[in-house]
Subunit: 314 residues, 2 copies
C-alpha cells in the first residue's frame, strides 16, 4: 500500500507492506483521513507514535470501508463504512483498527466529512462533557474556535444548550464560527472582560490561562486540550480556591484501548445521532489527495482555515 | 455573651449581645471551637467574614449544646450535643447555626475533640472524595500532614484503603503522623522522587505544585486546599495533558447554605461512623480557655504542632 511517511522532518508518499489485522482488528480501506495538530508535531519529531502504531505513518483518524476482519472481530462486515481514532497510520491506503475503536459512518456524511469526524468530535465531546460536565444553561468559552476541535466544541456546546462564546484570532473566520452556532464571537484580546464562564475549552495554550481563570465563575472548569501558543501557565491558586474551580487537561492518543473504546461508544450514543439529524456539521476547509499530502501539511500549518484539512486516498 | 473579637489586628475577648436564632436556626451554647488557618488570615485583615456572619468574631467551627430552636427548626432538641462549620462567630459563648449545617456529636468525643472535627474532616473529606474521587488502592500524597486538615486527610485516606504518603517539615512530628496511619512519612525535600501518586492533597502551596505534577500518575488529581507557602503556581500544561490529570482547588467558607448542608450530610454518612468506631481520631494539640484566646492564636501561628488548637468556652 501507499502511505504518507515521515522522512527527515518531511512528509512524503512511500510504499509499505499491507498491514494485516490481528485478533479483534479490522482491515480498513481508508478513504479519508483528517489532519490534526499532533501530526505536525510528529512530523517535526516532537511527538513519536505510541507503541503498536506505525512509527513513520502519521494520521490519528480515518474513515473507510471494511476490507476484512481479523480473528475474532465480528462487529462489522466487509464493505461497512466505518471511522475511528487511531494511534497513528491513518494517512494510508490501508490501516488496521481494533473493532471496539470503530464507529459506523452516518449515511449522510461523505468521505471527507467522515474522515474529519473522529478526532475533533471525540476530543471536544470528551473535554466538554466527560471532563468538564458541560450542561444546558452553562456559559461556555471556546478559545481557538475556528480550528477542528474548536468548530466541534462550538457546535456541541450550542447543541447541548450552553451559551457559547468563541474567540477567533483571524477576523475573516469569525462569521463562519458564528454560523456554526456561537452566540458571540470575539477577538481574543481582552476576552476576560466577557465572562463569567462556567466552562472554558482552552485550545490555544498557556498565555490564555490567567485570563481564563479571571473570567471563570464559581465552580468553573477549564479544560486544556491545545497548547500551541505555549505550555507554561501561571495559575493563581488563591483564585482557583476562591472560585472552587478546576483545571483539567488531556489527550486522546495515549489512552489505552478500553478508554478509546469507551469514547467511541460515547460518540455513538451522543454525537452520531446529532450528525445524522444534521444538528452537527463537519466543516471541511480543504481536501488533498494522498499524493499531495505535503501540501496538506503546509495548508494546515498556514492557519486561517475554518474546519478540517482532510487527505483523501481514492 | 463573651466572644473572641478581632480589634486592630489583635484577638481580644469582648462582651457582645447574645445572638438570636432566625428561621431554621439553632442557638448553640458553644463548648469548644477549633482554630484554623483562615482565622489567622482574618485576624490579619486578609479574609473578611462572609455576609451573614459576625464581622468581628472569628471561628469557623464549633461544638456545643442546643439552647433553643429558632422558628421552624426541628432537627435537634434542647441539650443535644451538636457541631458545625460556620461562616464565622464560632469562638464565642453563643452562636446561631442553621440546623441543616449542624451534625450530632458522636458520644465518644469530648468537647475539645468535637470542636476540632467539623472544619478539618469536612475539608479533607470534600477534597479527597468529593473532588478527587479517592478510592481504595489509590496512592495518596498529603503535604503538610501534621496540620489539622493533614491529620484528617491521612486518616481518611488510610481508612478508605489508600496507600498514604505524608510529608511533614518538622521531623519531631513525623512519628505522630505515622501513628495516624500514614504508610510513609517524608521530609518535603525531594518528595517528587517518591511517586507516582494518584491523588495529591496540597496543603502547603504553590512551591510544591511542579513536583506534585511530576510525581502524579496518569489520571492523577491534585487538590489544593492550602497556599500558606505561596499561591502563584507554575503549571506545565503539556505534562498535565500527557498525564490526563487535573488540578482542583476549593474552600468551604464561601459556599452557600445548601452546599454546606450537603457536606454536613456527607460527614454524617461517611465520617461520623468512623469517629464513633474509633477508626478516626481527633488529635488535639492543645486547648486554651476563651480568656486565653490570644495565646491560642500565637500557638497556632508558631507551628510544629500535630492536630488541632481548640478554644474552650466553659
Amino acid at each position: 500500500m501507499r502511505a504518507a511517511t515521515i522522512r527527515d522532518g518531511e512528509v512524503v508518499v512511500e510504499e509499505h507492506a499491507d498491514p494485516e489485522p490481528g485478533a479483534g482488528e479490522v482491515l480498513v480501506r481508508v478513504r479519508a483521513a483528517g489532519l490534526n495538530g499532533a501530526d505536525l508535531l510528529q512530523k517535526a519529531g516532537g511527538y513519536p507514535a505510541p507503541p503498536g502504531s506505525p512509527a513513520d505513518i502519521p494520521g490519528l483518524e480515518l474513515a473507510g470501508e471494511v476490507v476484512a476482519n481479523g480473528p475474532g472481530a465480528t462487529r462489522f462486515a466487509e464493505g461497512d463504512r466505518v471511522m475511528a481514532i487511531v494511534g497513528g497510520g491513518g494517512q494510508a491506503e490501508l490501516a488496521t483498527v481494533h473493532e471496539r475503536q470503530l464507529m459506523p459512518v452516518p449515511a449522510n456524511l461523505d468521505w471527507p466529512e467522515a474522515g474529519g469526524v473522529p478526532e475533533v468530535f471525540t476530543t471536544a465531546y470528551d473535554a466538554l462533557f466527560t471532563q468538564a460536565g458541560l450542561a444546558a444553561g452553562d456559559r461556555l468559552l471556546v478559545h481557538g474556535a475556528a480550528g477542528g476541535v474548536g468548530t466541534a466544541g462550538v457546535q456541541l456546546g450550542a447543541a447541548a444548550g450552553a451559551h457559547v462564546t468563541a474567540t477567533v484570532r483571524n477576523a475573516g473566520s469569525r462569521e463562519a464560527v458564528r454560523a456554526l452556532g456561537a452566540h458571540e464571537v470575539l477577538d481574543p484580546e481582552g476576552f476576560e472582560e466577557h465572562g463569567p464562564f462556567d466552562v472554558v475549552l482552552e485550545l490555544v495554550g498557556a498565555p490564555n490561562v490567567p485570563g481564563d481563570l479571571k473570567a471563570l465563575d464559581t465552580g468553573g472548569r477549564i479544560v486544556v486540550i491545545g497548547v500551541g501558543a505555549g505550555f507554561k501557565a501561571e495559575v493563581n491558586l488563591l483564585a482557583l480556591m476562591g472560585k472552587r474551580a478546576r483545571i483539567s487537561a488531556s489527550t486522546l492518543r495515549a489512552r489505552p484501548l478500553e478508554e478509546k473504546a469507551a469514547t467511541a461508544r460515547a460518540m455513538e450514543r451522543h454525537v452520531l445521532p446529532l450528525l445524522e439529524r444534521g444538528v452537527l456539521r463537519v466543516p471541511v476547509a480543504e481536501t488533498f489527495a494522498l499524493d499531495d499530502v505535503a501540501a496538506a501539511y503546509d495548508r494546515f500549518k498556514a492557519g486561517g482555515k475554518v474546519g478540517k484539512i482532510v487527505v483523501t486516498t481514492g
